[in-house]
């Protein structure tokens, strides 16, 4: 059939894009925000001071804290502060014998009490005293764990959507006949043509990114989606797969009898730095702290390689001898590491991170323009009957609720952070609820009245919520632009400025939506052209 292939790929592109487009919008927006989750977390805890101590002092305080609060743990895991995140996070695993059954009525801890965690202020060595919030981590988790549904279901659903997205990308490229000719083409103010051009350009300009982020996203959870190879190749010992495939250090043997004092942490960290010729440390784990055979695995700082697997060195904590280096990875392990690393972009410095963020936003624009494009294309078919069919009405409502409603939700989350009482119990969950209440309200309003005016209102509301955030910030905290710009705190100042930028962009969209007029019919255009040309003597009979 002539053109059958391209035609069927076009059909497939439309439906793989449309059916999951709104969920993809959520995933893309939350994922894009995650590039700055550390910065968002900092903005959402303005009480947090910037770190003024060195990595070594921070490490010392971490070890001290853990010796006091997790002295009997089997393993410690510490992430040291860095310029993007001034707090120290630590986890520990208690031995089986220490696990207490949950007290009647008390909420069961995740992991059943086997694990403990703390966020410590490196300036004081004590647990962090800042408002309870999930910060940027909420967005990170949202984009693959979703919310309100079991995590496993969410990940399968997200994987399903990601697969649809991958097919949409491939079919999109196949269908786009003039992909090189139309590379820079965006014809504005031409209705359907403009929407198509916008969708095409936003897709093509960041095409390597879109393909990469979708494929690597699936890769991050591929062990969950395709466990069959493991079961086939490791029928009796699946655990061996994880140690063989994901490299890393082998398990440490059981603790030795007897305790021994470990060397000062600074000395151990310095040994690592010397071995790595000056490259700094990002964190460390300790197995059997306090025992005679305690070992410490010291991890290298991110930023020197794409792979998520950073090199590590294992030292004996008591004698300080280097026991082993992280083993060289097999080809597939290294490939998977790079895929995973590209998705997380931990290696990215401020410039590269900004580029990733921009590409993510472009992805959001691509998905948004895609779902809107479908509605714009579909609408003339309903003009004859005068009524909007069920499908189009549904799509219109979802479009408004997602494209205009999600920004409202995101901004509301930040408003909640500044306005909710600091001592509110379950405060972090309350902030998350604000996000979903706001989104729910936007969706409901969109379903009740899916018209252009609703678009305008929601876009303006989103614009206001974003643009007024810096003002709210100034009224509720001491970390507003008046303080952060003179202090050169570009993380906090940058956040406020980006909020202003988003507000401006949404306002512009709302304004254009408000001023939009329906395109003229062909007859109308002819009449106006004739009138402009001076008009003929014979009046033209206008056929509307």
């Amino acid at each position: 059939m002539k053109n059958g292939f391209r035609q069927s790929m076009a059909w497939l592109h439309t439906w793989t894009g449309l059916l999951v487009g709104w969920l993809l919008l959520l995933i893309f927006m939350a994922g894009t925000a995650s590039y700055y989750r550390e910065e968002i977390s900092r903005w959402m805890r303005p009480e947090l001071p910037a770190t003024t101590v060195s990595t070594d002092v921070a490490a010392e305080r971490a070890v001290h804290y853990l010796q006091e609060h997790a002295g009997h743990a089997e393993t410690w895991f510490v992430t040291l502060p860095d310029p993007r995140n001034p707090a120290m996070r630590m986890f520990w695993r208690n031995p089986e014998s220490m696990v207490k059954p949950p007290v009647e009525g008390e909420r069961r801890r995740r992991g059943g009490g086997r694990f403990g965690d703390a966020t410590v202020d490196p300036n004081t060595g004590d647990k962090l005293e800042a408002r309870e919030t999930r910060g940027g981590e909420f967005f990170y988790r949202l984009h693959f764990d979703l919310h309100y549904i079991p995590v496993l279901w969410a990940r399968y659903l997200v994987g399903f959507c990601a697969m649809f997205m991958l097919v949409a990308i491939i079919t999109g490229v196949i269908t786009h006949k003039k992909i090189f000719k139309d590379f820079f083409t965006f014809r504005k103010d031409k209705g359907l043509r403009s929407w198509l051009d916008f969708h095409n350009v936003s897709a093509v300009m960041a095409l390597p990114y879109h393909a990469m982020i979708t494929y690597t996203g699936i890769v991050t959870l591929m062990v969950m989606y395709l466990p069959w190879g493991i079961k086939a190749a490791y029928p009796t010992d699946e655990d061996a797969f994880f140690s063989e495939a994901f490299g890393g250090m082998p398990e440490v043997s059981a603790p030795a009898e007897g305790r021994a004092a470990p060397l000062p942490i600074q000395q151990l960290l310095d040994s690592a730095r010397t071995h790595w010729k000056g490259v700094d440390v990002s964190g460390f784990s300790v197995a059997h702290p306090g025992a005679a055979n305690a070992v410490i695995d010291i991890r290298q700082r991110d930023g020197r390689r794409l792979s998520v697997d950073t090199p590590a060195l294992r030292y004996d904590m008591v004698t300080g001898t280097l026991l082993m280096e992280s083993p060289a990875s097999g080809a597939a392990t290294a490939t998977r590491g790079v895929m995973y690393g590209l998705h997380l972009a931990r290696f990215a410095d401020w410039g590269l991170r900004a580029l990733f963020f921009l590409s993510g936003l472009t992805g959001c624009l691509m998905v948004a323009s895609g779902v809107v494009l479908w509605a714009v294309k579909e609408r003339p078919k309903h003009a004859k009957s005068g009524r909007i069919g069920f499908g189009l009405r549904l799509v219109d409502a979802l479009n408004i609720g997602a494209v205009a409603g999600l920004p409202i939700a995101f901004a509301s989350y930040f408003w909640g952070n500044r306005l909710l009482p600091l001592q509110l119990p379950e405060r972090a969950d309350a902030e998350v609820s604000v996000f979903f209440y706001a989104w729910g309200a936007a969706l409901l309003a969109a379903f009740i009245w899916p018209k252009r005016l609703m678009w305008t209102w929601q876009l303006y509301l989103g614009a206001a919520l974003f643009a007024l955030l810096p003002l709210l910030n100034a009224l509720t905290t001491h970390a507003h632009l008046g303080v952060t710009i003179p202090a050169g705190d570009w993380i906090l100042a940058g956040f406020d400025l980006v909020m202003l930028a988003f507000g401006a962009m949404l306002a512009m969209c709302g304004w254009r939506m408000q001023r939009w007029t329906p395109p003229l019919s062909a007859a109308e255009k002819k009449k106006r052209a004739a009138a402009a040309a001076g008009g003929s003597a014979v009046p033209i009979e206008a056929k509307a």
Binding site: K181, T185, L306, L358
Partner: protein, 109 residues
């Protein structure tokens, strides 16, 4: 270095767009360049793109260099297609000259 790579990518994309008849008509109307001239623009564009690639790799290595290069192309392309060609086509040529110059200054300082 990154700003210079960004400037070069922008100029490269400007040159490559000028190699297309459609954009020649956008910018110059009746004085659109003939095919031979457009081929020169195409050549220049690819050379500049290669320079941006080389710069990114020299500065950030073979792993992160290409990633950075792709990012600069994304910005350059979006700026041209969504910003300049529709609304401010007269700014394109000056920017194509100014941005790499500014980038060079930033790299040397």
């Amino acid at each position: 270095m990154m700003l210079l790579a960004l400037g070069l990518s922008f100029s490269a994309f400007t040159a490559l767009s000028l190699a297309m008849e459609k954009h020649q008509l956008d910018l110059h109307g009746k004085q659109a360049a003939p095919v031979s001239r457009r081929r020169q623009w195409s050549g220049l564009g690819w050379v500049l793109l290669g320079a941006a690639f080389g710069l990114s790799v020299v500065d950030h290595g073979w792993a992160m260099g290409p990633v950075l290069w792709l990012g600069t192309m994304t910005i350059a392309g979006l700026l041209l297609a969504f910003g300049l060609y529709p609304w401010k086509p007269r700014w394109i040529a000056p920017l194509a000259l100014a941005l790499p110059a500014l980038g060079l200054v930033a790299a040397l300082v």
